[in-house]
């Protein structure tokens, strides 16, 4: 690979619980990836525009508030509209099992629920880069 894997870690919605997003950002960085952390309360438009600008390989969405069914479809649609659907989207946070199939159908590569190790996420990204 000619360059390190680039990951945008984003916190969409109104939720301010950023412990997970920050830990993941740091773990990916320690694993040699280039990480851009957006900070809080990003709209889908802001996230996709940052992904475009930063030329990332992955977008990691951290959502703990239950708003994933409203936010993820908008992100996926905007990726398509901007012709960057090759950017892989992973979701981390509190997502009920029942919602996972529909997120995957929309093109989400993986959903990581509470208790997932940093190592598992790093491995997944490396294997799918």
């Amino acid at each position: 690979m000619s360059r390190p894997i680039r990951v945008l870690v984003a916190k969409p919605g109104l939720d301010g619980h950023d412990r997970g997003a920050k830990v993941i950002a740091r773990a990916l960085r320690d694993a040699g990836m280039e990480v851009i952390y957006t900070g809080l309360r990003q709209t889908p438009e802001m996230i996709v525009s940052a992904a475009l600008q930063e030329d990332v390989d992955f977008i990691g969405l951290s959502i703990l508030s239950g708003a994933h069914n409203a936010i993820v479809p908008r992100v996926m649609k905007l990726l398509k509209e901007n012709s960057i659907e090759d950017v892989k989207v992973i979701v981390g946070g509190i997502v009920p099992d029942a919602d996972i199939p529909s997120l995957k159908e929309q093109g989400v590569s993986a959903v990581f629920q509470p208790g997932t190790s940093m190592e598992e996420i790093v491995r997944f990204i490396r294997e799918h880069a």
Binding site: R26, G39, G66, P114
Partner: protein, 532 residues
């Protein structure tokens, strides 16, 4: 299994045995009269009442709120019927951020993490048939605390209650929002002005209401150690007291209405030591730093919630056990009120069944365990007293560093507490990955657990709340609402206390979003520099 690790969950080494020698000797020997005092006496290390729970048990106050005000009202009435002794409102994210339920930014979030409240009409529905003059209510909201409190006061008044008889707590703790929970709207200084406005208004009109709950809970949940939780929370308290004094308030008049809120995490003795150290430090700071002379000012009163971040989605029933141990630590630490988490809270908001089991957990401690019969039963334990002394010292060291930065607001502006917390939370996560710290069901003793049924809140809640707002705007006297909002803008601009104008705007059924937007125009909005 890896080699066992003998440090607390915060990473503090623990000795194999503690003896009197660990408490110093000769001239530096531990003097119980100085370090502990009697329960109910300065410095209150052993508790704020001489008879502790014999006189009165803690308030069993389960944090609860979801979906529409009507649905939450039904849950409250159910919990009260089951022996709960106080209410505690969980608001949804749009409410916490000052957005009406029909705002674009509220999409997907209405009623999800708490109840949706956009106006006085919602607040009236929330407490329908619950006599507010007889029950104490805690409201977990900080940035728009003044607006929600005003809604509560007016809703109570409409029930015929007198403000001076109302008791409860409004969180109002904006500093911990910048540090940890991040539900802030305005920049720190105008936010602090709004906080002091509530202190001043409360001292005059609601003598039994706590106008702030200075919260370590969210700081801990964001990944802080026990020491960081203790130090940042108490230093936030110092900041509020300083701002109150600068406004011209008398410490012995407003400080007795400041209350605290801590986390009860897994590490049993460290947590008990934290609660004891908190009381001791606060008593000293109030007397020695601020010259307070009233015992009511010296006494730190606190609410406790068991640690949400300790709950696991894996084998969720194990959470009942974690919660019971944490709740026991809170009681042995002398808490005044307690929330016990439900077993399903790593997955969703609790169902009626799991909420009841959580309440029953406290009732078992209160009525069956016998730990309530004597005050501070663990006082004098060499280990516990050593931990308490070490936390106290560590806390004063943090105070010195924050004082040297010019106080908590400059410390926040340079990202100091946030960096300390991020560092601690990453260290802890690494310890979990290396199995130095064990989480049953996650990195040890994994098993396919039976799934539990969870509460699901669908999009119809948002539609219902949006419809209600449309109706409200059609039914109210819009001219009156607009005038009240203009008055609020003027008060904000001119620098007087904003509470009276907020109360008037609430009476005119101005919405939460309208009030918060009015202040945004005057104060601007805050954006943090993200620290990773």
């Amino acid at each position: 299994m890896p080699d066992r690790d003998f440090t607390t969950i915060s990473g503090t080494p623990v000795n194999e045995l503690y003896t009197p020698a660990d408490l110093g000797n000769g001239a530096t020997a531990f003097d119980p009269a100085v370090e502990l005092g009697e329960p109910g006496c300065f410095p209150y290390t052993r508790g704020i009442h001489p008879d502790m729970y014999r006189g009165r048990l803690w308030t069993m106050r389960q944090f609860s709120g979801f979906a529409t005000p009507e649905e939450t009202n039904r849950r409250y009435r159910y919990l009260l019927e089951q022996g709960q002794t106080g209410l505690s409102v969980a608001f949804d994210l749009p409410t916490l951020m000052g957005y009406d339920a029909d705002h674009e930014m509220a999409a997907g979030e209405v009623g999800k993490c708490g109840v949706s409240i956009s106006s006085l009409a919602d607040m009236e529905a929330l407490f329908d048939s619950i006599p507010l003059e007889r029950i104490s209510t805690s409201m977990t909201i900080s940035s728009p605390a003044a607006m929600l409190w005003a809604m509560y006061l007016v809703a109570a008044e409409k029930q015929g209650a007198r403000w001076e008889n109302l008791s409860g707590t409004i969180q109002t703790d904006i500093l911990k929002e910048y540090i940890a929970q991040k539900e802030y709207i305005y920049p720190p200084r105008p936010s602090m002005r709004l906080v002091v406005d509530t202190f001043e208004f409360g001292a005059r009109h609601t003598p039994r209401f706590n106008t702030i709950s200075i919260s370590g809970y969210h700081i801990r949940e964001a990944g802080a150690t026990a020491l960081q939780e203790l130090a940042f929370t108490l230093r936030d308290g110092v900041e509020y007291v300083q701002w109150g004094i600068e406004r011209g308030l008398d410490v012995d008049e407003f400080v007795p209405r400041l209350s605290f809120f801590f986390d009860a995490h897994n590490d049993f003795f460290e947590e008990i030591a934290k609660f004891r150290a908190a009381r001791k430090i606060w008593a000293h700071v109030m007397r020695d730093r601020f010259g307070a002379s009233s015992e009511r000012t010296w006494k730190l009163r606190f609410h406790t919630q068991t640690a949400g971040c300790s709950l696991t989605a894996q084998q969720p029933r194990v959470n009942i056990v974690r919660t019971a141990i944490q709740a026991l630590a809170a009681v042995l630490g002398g808490t005044q009120s307690l929330h016990t988490n439900a077993l399903d809270e790593a997955l969703a908001l609790p169902t009626e069944e799991t909420a009841l089991l959580a309440l029953r957990t406290q009732q078992v401690i209160a009525y069956e365990s016998g730990v309530t019969d004597t005050a501070d039963p663990l006082g004098g334990s060499y280990f516990l007293e050593r931990l308490t002394l070490d936390l106290e010292k560590g806390c004063y060291d943090y105070f010195d560093r924050i004082d040297a930065m010019g106080g908590m607001i400059p410390a926040i502006e340079r990202g100091f507490p946030m960096r300390e917390i991020a560092e601690a939370s990453y260290r802890y996560q690494q310890a979990v990955e290396k199995k130095e710290k064990i989480i049953i069901g996650v990195n040890a003793f994994q098993a396919e657990g039976e799934p539990v049924e969870t509460l699901y809140i669908d999009h119809r809640v948002a539609e219902k709340q949006a419809g209600r707002l449309k109706q409200l705007r059609a039914d109210r006297n819009n001219q009156q609402a607009e005038k009240a909002l203009d008055d609020l803008a003027r008060a904000a601009d001119q620098g007087g206390n904003m509470m009276p104008s907020i109360v008037e705007a609430v009476r005119a059924y101005a919405t939460l979003g309208e009030m918060c937007d009015t202040l945004k125009k005057v104060f601007g909005v805050y954006q943090e520099a993200a620290v990773t």
